[in-house]
Point group: C2
Chain length 218, copies 2
């Protein structure tokens, strides 16, 4: 598309990973043309325009990427655009973006996929239908694990380095959790479970979720 682009053309994307794509874009883009990357933290497990809603971006974060090369004027105009559709703006560089979302989005999705895979393997091992009893926890994970496979493969591959690190951190913590259960370490388990509740309270306070039990489920 290079030949159709002008220095004043505002170009953006809504991708979930930034470092690697920015590297490719910088290499391919004609000199003098600016690309300003966006990542609206909105949407669900379904893809495509048919699943859009008018309030999709309302009160949701939109991350805008700022690097040394970023066109400041374009960044200001793009900020205004995202605010107009209801988003809250946060500006950071690609590196920080990919690090943060490896933890808050990419790892949770990977874990959800892995849990559903583990349940399926277990069901096959036991030769007994058990997924039908999934109301007690597995259900919500299965929603997240039904997201678009092409998009998530690309996210996992593009943000490989950060994701490999957070997987290791997750496994380290899981080994400690396992040890606590094995040794019936009451104090350590109770601390873990209470600390989780505090994070939940923080998420609700930050208006990232609603303080209503089993929200949307009953």
């Amino acid at each position: 598309m290079n030949k159709y682009l002008l220095p004043k053309t505002i170009i953006t994307d809504v991708g979930s990973t930034k470092e690697k794509t920015n590297f490719v874009i910088e290499k391919k883009l004609k000199k003098g043309i600016s690309w300003t990357s966006s990542h609206p933290i909105a949407g669900s497990e379904v893809s495509g325009p048919e699943n859009g809603t008018k309030d999709l971006f309302l009160n949701k974060w939109c991350i805008l990427i700022k690097e040394k090369k970023t066109n400041k004027k374009h960044l200001v105009i793009l900020s205004k655009f995202w605010k107009k559709v209801g988003s809250k703006i946060s500006i950071m560089n690609s590196k920080k973006h990919d690090l943060i979302f490896s933890m808050t989005s990419h790892l949770p999705h990977l874990i959800a996929y892995n849990l559903v895979k583990t349940a399926t393997d277990f069901e096959n091992q036991q030769k007994y239908e058990l997924i039908k009893y999934s109301a007690g926890g597995l259900r919500d994970f299965s929603r997240i694990a039904s997201s678009n496979e092409i998009m998530w493969r690309d996210i996992f591959f593009n943000n490989q380095n950060n994701i490999l690190k957070v997987i290791d951190l997750f496994i380290k913590n899981l080994q400690l959790f396992k040890k606590d259960i094995k040794l019936k370490n009451n104090k350590s388990i109770i601390k873990k479970l209470i600390d989780s509740k505090k994070v939940r309270k923080k998420i609700i306070k930050l208006k990232q979720d609603i303080n209503k039990p089993d929200f949307g489920r009953i």
Copy 2:
């Protein structure tokens, strides 16, 4: 309470683990008295009667435990009771129960706790607020990870053996997932992600969840 109990007294519980509690109950219970154990698969992350609703058990599974010693008459009456409040009945022994729910309920809760713990550790490491961006996945896990800590400690300790096994299965799968990301094994990743979607469809077909994107969230 032994001295107040009669052979015709119907006694039940609604606990989440069965093998160990049944062992303790059998030991303590006066001869000739029957205990018939129930596990309604209903409820949310909040506890206590103040969080009850009239439809709490409607179309939800209720597992009834049947062992050699189980009083068949009591089992029939208890089945009728749970059906009256709207439940679907499934009858199995304690061993099977604890095995199934280690996978469909106990492991998902443990994983949710572990993910929230990992995110907190990561936030502290990075010295950068990131939990506020939790809309993209972490949010739903944090709801599950805000469940009652005393109840969940007891579940983890009582169903220790099954839980330790499913943790190992989960870690084994996670190591394979990690390897696929590291080697960019396209075919294997795509298969995993597509298989997850099939499980989701099964869960919806079994009426364990609703086929509406981001249900309750938008």
